[in-house]
Symmetry: C2
Subunit: 440 residues, 2 copies
């Protein structure tokens, strides 16, 4: 890459509201990967982008440049439609654990690269690692082999994938440049396109427990990502979903793995199954395995009912080194020493009006089940189960949730957070729909 | 300094338009000097400051924090008023070389720390170094001794002075965050306050050859610096002056030293003397050596006429290791091999309407007399002399300037730039005043 210009010229152009050219964006992304665009120059440009934004074309170029800064997995020789799902993250979101084997049971190939939890949100890799022996670090050859044999493989981002994004992602975290739609969009899409997918379904969450607090911002992000998909020739559909209360009734790691397996056994909570069916349904449509949402839904329900989705989960577990006995014996998972039921006070009467996902996430952190910094260790055993949902009736002593904990001292702060998270109302509240929009 | 918060919290606060506290600004400035606030975080904050600005109070706190990041020279035991001048820089601005000995001849102490040239603007240190033997790197002890004995000493910024500014200044240069008034203001004022001055006169230039292109921006900068002076208890006056054409008739290094000595001998060009008298006059008033501009002017003219200002220049030259014979024999200065007169074309008739200072600066760079990067070597001998001024009459073959050069190949580009810089008009143009405003 010849330096026909200086990094500061590109920074100044964006600072003054200009539109960067493809050559300038390539110079930036490759320079970041190779170290010629210094971190202190990259962070100034990131802040200028945060300020001035990026056009759809600039965002597409940035995605493409980050994608091509590293290895792109070629899955064209593996038969079947390669379709993945990505969620912008929330509390209790274990959809991937159900969706990947479910989609595979319906004939898709799901090459899924996930992340770890940070702050109040959990991460798929951490949840998988609650299963004894489960390896999320696989070579590309292993990843391909499992994908081909099982139909679903779930791993972490390899160092060869989008190294420019890797550097910029960690830089954004410490320079106040995280919440910027073009940067978020390019980061997600460059990694997903590097997986070798044919198409992608996005779960763009908004609300108290989500990264995006407002529906407007979530819509903006969803549209930007769908647009990148169009430019890249990889169809992308996005569902806009609420994340005010945790998804399902469990949050944590062991507790969420149990809930995911329960879903695969046909005993999942309604909201979690609704979202899982919707997201997986759009994957089937994109992958050509179903002609519309209704027929997709029938296939998915059948794959749960006939046990084929659970069987795919078992196969994936075995292929990735995990102990498949967890499916039938949850005690094999890391198990907490103590269980505390949080119950409604004696004067409680009416309905649950709020279960604040952010506060629930903080409660899990208080139990030791989350990370404040990326280097923190997490306790897989702790978490929340049996969580009450918005709209459910409460009276004196109604169970609000069960806390799984390893240290009694933690329970006070966690319980206080849970009590603060759950609000009551005398009359039944109006329930807002979980799935609010489809962008395609 | 205890880290009660993270750098990114401060970045995010400013990014979102917040006002930083004194503690946060101290954490930033000291963290930059000590390396705990990383350069990639500092540059993101600098861009956020560029975007959101700083209140006068924030700017004052930043100045104070950068000032206290290093050594502050204490000159209180040296008798007399310590008054300095700072210019925001232009083309042909050799005022410091005349003003420092002139003010010393009128009884002031002038502790002057200057910079080097970069881009189209020249630097006082580079001009002084055209004098054989002249040392601009002195210990603080030497600086104090010369100041006491001679009354004027001219040196470069020592590494102990405002190290936070030193780091931020070099960072701003490569991250597109230079033209930001609070940052410029804090940078200049922290260094000037560290010199141990009692008061300060500023020459804030605007126009084609200046850093600030518009009078409005220059006024804003002048007001910000005067305000910092008030907060610090050091009276500051600022003159707003135009920088559309070069100051005087010479630009370069040897050529400017000669012109400065000519001024001290009473043979200086009108515009250069007007500005030098005005700036030095305000120094005398601030230092209590004159009661008003008229009486200051009389003292200054006398110091030129009776040779005492030239004598101060000679003493300073000797004290700093320079060869004082340059005063009487300009051939001792680095001398160019070739001299080319640029003359008006045969059809020229009328008056000079424009002498573009920026293009003249670029012509000097084309001759090898400027720096594109801070590490570039400069040729002191080359430059422009005998430059025609706006409003002067021209006819066929009128001399527009004399180029001093060492390589004939350079002359083509330099002459083309000069020809492009100088425009003619059939009727006498209206001359804009050089000094446009006084801010105090």
């Amino acid at each position: 890459m010849s330096a026909t210009f200086f990094p500061q010229d590109i920074i100044i152009k964006k600072r003054d509201g200009g539109v960067l050219s493809k050559v300038e964006i390539d110079f930036f992304a490759h320079g970041v990967a190779e170290g010629t665009f210094k971190s202190y120059q990259a962070s100034a440009l990131l802040m200028a982008i945060f300020w001035r934004g990026m056009t759809p074309q600039e965002t597409a170029w940035l995605t493409d440049a980050m994608l091509h800064s590293g290895e792109i997995i070629d899955l064209r020789d593996i038969p079947g439609a390669k379709v993945d799902k990505h969620s912008t993250g929330g509390v209790g979101d274990k959809v991937s654990l159900i969706l990947a084997p479910l989609a595979a049971a319906c004939g898709l190939k799901v090459p899924m690269m996930s992340g770890r939890g940070l702050g109040h949100t959990g991460g798929t890799l951490d949840k998988l690692e609650a299963i004894p022996g489960f390896r999320v670090t696989l070579s590309v050859a292993e990843f391909r082999a499992i994908l081909q044999q099982v139909g679903a493989a779930m791993i972490g981002q390899t160092p060869q994938i989008a190294p420019a994004d890797r550097k910029l992602y960690s830089l954004r975290d410490v320079t106040g440049t995280v919440e910027c739609i073009p940067l978020i969009c390019a980061s997600i899409m460059s990694k997903k396109l590097a997986e070798g997918i044919d198409s992608l379904v996005l779960d763009v969450k908004f609300g108290r427990g989500a990264f995006m607090k407002s529906k407007e911002r979530a819509l903006e992000l969803a549209r930007a990502m769908v647009a990148i998909g169009q430019v890249s020739g990889k169809p992308v559909r996005a569902l806009l979903t609420t994340m005010n209360q945790p998804l399902g009734r469990a949050a944590g790691h062991t507790t969420e793995v149990i809930e995911a397996i329960e879903c695969l056994k046909g005993r999942g909570p309604a909201d979690l199954m609704e979202l899982t069916y919707a997201l997986t349904g759009h994957m089937l449509i994109l992958g050509g395995a179903a002609k519309d949402e209704a027929s997709a839904r029938r296939q998915l329900e059948a794959a749960i009912a006939n046990g084929s989705a659970l069987e795919k989960f078992r196969q994936m577990c075995v292929a990735q080194g995990g102990d498949p006995r967890v499916i039938d014996d949850y005690k094999i998972l890391p198990t907490a020493k103590l269980f505390t039921e949080v119950r409604a006070p004696a004067d409680a009467k009416g309905f649950v009006s709020e279960v604040d996902a952010l506060k629930c996430g903080h409660a899990i952190m208080a139990l030791g089940g989350g990370r404040a910094a990326v280097t923190d260790q997490i306790d897989h055993a702790v978490g929340i189960a049996d969580l009450i949902k918005i709209g459910e009736p409460v009276g004196a002593g109604t169970r609000l949730c069960t806390l799984h904990l390893n240290d009694h001292a933690q329970s006070f702060r966690a319980e206080a957070l849970i009590r603060d998270a759950i609000q009551f109302t005398p009359t039944a509240p109006t329930l807002e729909p979980l799935i609010q929009d489809l962008i395609q």
